[in-house]
Every structure is written in C-alpha cells, then in structure tokens.
C-alpha cells in the first residue's frame, strides 16, 4: 500500500480471489420433492442462521429470518387453490430472498444501502442502511427483517468470522457472497446432505442449473409482478 502521509494509506479496490466462484447471474433451484422426503428437516435454516449470526428472538413481531419454511398457500398465494392435492398441501417450501432481476427493494432504497451486484445478487450494506424500511414495504415476498432491538443478546452461539448487526437496520439473505468469494457454495447448499438446493449461473446456457430448469417443471414466486425472481422450485 502506498503511504500518502503519516497515518494515511491509499485505499485499493479489493481484488477478487482467484478461487472465488463467479456467475453472470446467480440463481437457485430448490427441489421440494427432496425436502418432502426428509421432513422434518431444517438443517439449511440452522446452518444459515448460525453462520450469519441471525438472532433467535422469541417475540414473533421482532423475528429475524433469512431462510424459513412455509406452506404452499403462503409461499405461492396466487397459485394455490382449494382443490390442490394433498402432496402440495403438506409440503413445506423454503423461502428466502429471491435476488430478483428487477428488485423493488433496490428501486426504493433512498441510500443505495441495498443494491444489485453485477452477478445478480441483491446485497445489503448494513453500515449505510438508515432503517427507513422502505425496502420491507416494497418486497412482495416478505424476505426482509428489521432489527427492532439490539439483536446481539439473542445470538446463542456467535460465529466470530461473520459480523453481527446493530439495532435499526434491515437484513436478509445475501446468497453467501462472503463464501462465494472464497470458492465455497452458499451455507444452505452445503448444509443440505440430500442435495435439495442447487445454485448456478443462469446466464450461462450450458450451466447445470439451466439443464435442470429445462428438464423439470419449476415455479417462481409471484412472477406476474415482473420482479424476475432467481429462486426456482421443482414441484
């Protein structure tokens, strides 16, 4: 680093690691058939929430979650209907940030604290967020949580290698950008022993994920809103 004067250093852009995983547009496929076979299983949720120091707040109104499960009629409220078969009714669906192609949260953020990266990941800058919660009103998937109080007392077993948050900021799934940069797959993908979660490059027509999408019938949440979700569900 070039020293400018005493006590000052010139800042350089971080060079991406050569091991890092890259994509034109990151996307995820969740095979809900596999999830159903292994119910009740919450390993991906536990792995994600432990790794990212997501607090376990018992008071539901102040709850913080990056990835969680819900029923079909709540995950896909505009697709669900009363004549759906039992399989669909019983199955639980993993829900998380959709890392939309046209993210409404990014559109409304007044400080660019939430932004879309070139690889399609919708990221948060927790140090810039003013806590106006416009993104929470804008997200049609309920993917965002707000720190209504200091989250730190509710982190049972903190992971020292990932920052905790302070009160008054919004947070959500970051597609594990910190792990991708080191060449590791997202925590939920790694935690799932049954291979129900697959990530890959949507922009590359020859990628594994595109092959899967061509082969299987998949759903995305609320496509009619034009947000272009990057999370797909095999039914």
């Amino acid at each position: 680093m070039g020293v400018l004067s005493k006590g000052e250093v010139k800042a350089y852009a971080v060079k991406p690691s050569e091991k890092g995983l890259t994509a034109g547009r990151w996307a995820m496929v969740i095979d809900t058939r596999v999830c159903r076979k292994h119910e009740p299983c919450e390993e991906c949720i536990h792995a994600c929430h432990h790794l990212h120091n997501v607090p376990q707040i018992p008071y539901k109104k102040h709850e913080i979650k990056w990835i969680w499960k819900d029923e079909f009629e709540h995950a896909f409220p505009d697709t669900a209907h009363e004549y759906a078969n039992e399989v669909l009714k019983d199955r639980e669906f993993l829900l998380l940030c959709n890392h939309c192609e046209h993210p409404p949260c990014v559109r409304v953020c007044p400080t660019k604290a939430t932004f879309k990266r070139e690889d399609g990941i919708v990221m948060m800058d927790m140090h810039r967020c003013i806590g106006c919660r416009f993104c929470m009103a804008a997200c049609p998937y309920g993917s965002r949580s707000f720190n209504w109080r200091d989250p730190r007392p509710f982190i049972k077993n903190p992971n020292p290698s990932y920052p905790t948050r302070m009160k008054g900021v919004v947070e959500k799934c970051t597609f594990c950008t910190e792990r991708l940069a080191e060449g590791k797959l997202p925590a939920c993908v790694e935690a799932c022993k049954h291979g129900a979660i697959i990530v890959g490059d949507l922009a590359d027509p020859h990628s594994e994920i595109n092959k899967i999408l061509r082969e299987y019938f998949t759903l995305r949440r609320k496509v009619h809103l034009g947000t272009g979700p990057s999370v797909f569900y095999i039914i």
Binding site: K112, G131, P140, G168
Partner: protein
C-alpha cells in the same frame, strides 16, 4: 417581527409552556426509543410502518392544503382570503415540520439520516419526497414571512416574492403526489397499488386541511380580535364540501374496482379494515367511525342551511378532521400491510411510548403554529387591521 412572539397575555404564555412541556414529555420517550430501538413501538416484521408514517402522510395533506387559500387569493385575486392566506401558510410550516419530525422518529438509525443527502438516489421516491417537503417548507417560510413583513412595514409585498408564490402552488400538489407515490408504486401491496392514490390523497388533504385551518381560525377568533370575515369562512366551507365529496367518490371507485373485478387480493385489505379478516378486526370500529363521520359531514356540508350556519360549522369541521384522520392516519398505512405478502395476518396497534412520541411531535408543531399565529395577529393589531 419575532419580538411579537415574546410578549403576550397570560393565556398565551400558558399555551406556549403547555405545548413545550408536552413536547418534552414526547422527547423523553424518544430518548427511550433511541436507547431500545423501534421495538418500543407496536410495529413488527409484517407491519413495518405504523403510526409515525401514517401521521406523516396525514400531515403532508394538511400542509398541502394551504394551497386552497393561496391559489384563490394570488391566482384569482380573491380578496376575501387576504387575511387568511398567511394563516394557511403558517399552518403549512407547522405541518411540514411535524412531517419531518415524524420521519426522524421513524428512522431506525437516526444519526444516519443524512445518508439520504450523502448518497442521493434518484430512483427512490423518498429522495423526491425529501426535496419537495423541504422545498415546500422553505417556500412557505419565504412567502408567509415576506407577506407578513409587508404588513408590518405597511407596504405591499415585494415583487421578487411573486415567483415563489406562484411556484408554491404546483409545489403544494407535488408534495402530496410524491407522498402518494411512496405507496402507489410498490408491487404486491394491492391496497396501495392504485392510480387514484394521488388524487385520493389530494382530495382528502383538501378537505381535512381547510377544516383544520377553519377550526384554528375559530379558536383564534375566540381569543383575539381577528376575524377573517363571514365570506371567507363560507367560501372555505365550500372548498371542504367539494374535496370531501371527491374523497368519498374516489373511495367508492376503489370499492368498485376491488369488488366488481372480484380479484381477492384487491379485496383483502378493504375486508380487513371494514369487516375483519379471519377473525382479526382491530381496525373495524375505527374505520366505520371514520366513514360514518365523513358521510354525515358530507350530507351536512352539502345542505346550504347547515353549511352556512357559522355556529354549526366548527362541529362539521371536527367531523371531517376526525374522519379523515382515522382514514389516513390509521387505516390507509396499516391496512396496506394486512395481510402480509404471504397472506398471513399480524395486527398492529400503537404502543403507549409510540403515541407519546407522536403527541410530542404534534405539540411541537402546534407550538410553531401558535407562535407564528401570535406574531401575525400582533402585527395586524399594530397596523390597526383588526
């Protein structure tokens, strides 16, 4: 002119100290909120905006409504509003200040507020809201203060202020339009996703604001020699009538679209507000009260005999102010969050500290209005105008 605010009757001092004390109580609760976080309020992951944002929205309307006296006076040379205009502008100053304070208390990281200036983001509607609200505050300060200063000096207002007056007219419409756009452009919030949101905002603003202005004028009239004149009051009552009818009409349009189309997601919030959803019905009595008050007021405002009854008019204004306040300050914002995007229901009610902080902000706003009105009346008295 500021010296006029420092001398007054005992009643004036009592009011000033009372409002300042209430503001301090609110400030005490705000300090508690700073310490604990916004969890001190009734807001939640599902209802992520509540009382603060709702009061903000209501008061933007009150601020914008100053144009209902400014426009006839300056554009149509409607002389009867001569004395009233300054009071309209001063009400706007108090209302915009309250709006800004409600934003300040609603922010999770209060000290980062200026990130909005540090990282200006023109694709966010909040960016424009910041510009139009602060601009409107400045315009009303310039126009109101210069006009009063001209009276103080016994002259006509200077020519340089005219462009600012003309600018303040479309600007008033812009503040409430941009505020409506905060909500009306969000995918998946069906209750807000409607093109009549901005017109409806303006209609409810142009009845609630002038109604509040008339109430304040009645109070001022009781305690001072100021009288805007019967003609001005009756003219403003007509404005309230038309705006109130437009407001109810636009709500009827919403009902038609939601229920004739039969699309469930367009109906959920309305059903929640007026009938309850899956047994959740905390806001139902509020909403029926709001619409009953507005409907009764609409009938009494339309009938010339009751509208022109100057003894009855303050009561009608109270009906309008309460009705529109519940509709916008309780129903509109909270209703938009229920049910949540996953069609689950979390209800909301403001907590005691949340209400106290809000009351504190109202006290601050009315303190500003009291002082400004006092100055205006003293200046008019000193010139023998009243």
């Amino acid at each position: 002119m500021l010296e006029k605010a420092l001398v007054g009757s005992k009643k004036y001092y009592a009011l000033v100290f009372f409002l300042a004390a209430v503001f301090l109580v609110g400030f005490f609760f705000f300090l508690k909120q700073l310490k604990f976080g916004l969890g001190i309020t009734g807001m939640s992951r599902d209802v992520s905006w509540g009382f603060y944002v709702a009061q903000f929205t209501y008061l933007v309307g009150v601020a914008a409504s100053a144009v209902m006296v400014v426009l006839p006076y300056y554009l149509h040379n409607y002389k009867d509003y001569g004395k009233l205009t300054i009071f309209g502008e001063f009400l706007a100053i108090g209302a915009v200040t309250m709006c800004l304070l409600f934003i300040v208390v609603d922010i999770g990281q209060t000290h980062r507020l200026f990130n909005v200036l540090l990282h200006p983001t023109p694709n966010s509607m909040l960016f424009y809201d910041m510009i139009v609200l602060n601009g409107y505050l400045l315009l009303n300060l310039i126009c109101g203060w210069t006009a009063l200063h001209a009276i103080y000096k016994g002259t006509k207002y200077p020519d340089w202020v005219k462009p600012f007056i003309y600018l303040s007219i479309p600007w008033a419409f812009s503040i409430h339009t941009v505020t409506a756009f905060l909500y009306a452009g969000l995918p998946g919030r069906h209750f807000w996703l409607t093109a009549v949101m901005a017109p409806r905002f303006l209609a409810s603003a142009f009845c609630s604001g002038p109604a509040l202005l008339l109430l304040l004028i009645y109070i001022v009239k009781t305690f001072t020699r100021f009288d805007p004149g019967e003609k001005a009051i009756k003219a403003l009552a007509k404005t309230i009538t038309y705006a109130l009818l437009a407001n109810l009409f636009l709500f009827g349009c919403e009902l038609f679209t939601a229920f004739y189309s039969g699309i469930p997601s367009h109906q959920f919030s309305i059903k929640y507000l007026f009938a309850g959803l899956h047994g959740h019905m905390k806001l139902v009595p509020w909403m029926w009260t709001a619409y009953a008050l507005m409907l009764i007021a609409a009938v009494l405002f339309v009938i010339p005999k009751t509208r022109n009854n100057l003894g009855l008019l303050p009561l009608l204004c109270i009906l309008v102010v309460i009705g529109t306040w519940i509709d916008k300050g309780m129903g509109l914002i909270i209703g938009g969050f229920i049910p949540n995007p996953l069609e689950r229901i979390t209800e909301y009610m403001p907590t005691f500290p949340e209400v106290m902080i809000s009351v504190g902000i109202y006290a601050a706003g009315f303190l500003i209005i009291t002082v400004l009105y006092k100055i205006a009346i003293s200046v008019m008295e000193s010139r023998g105008l009243i």
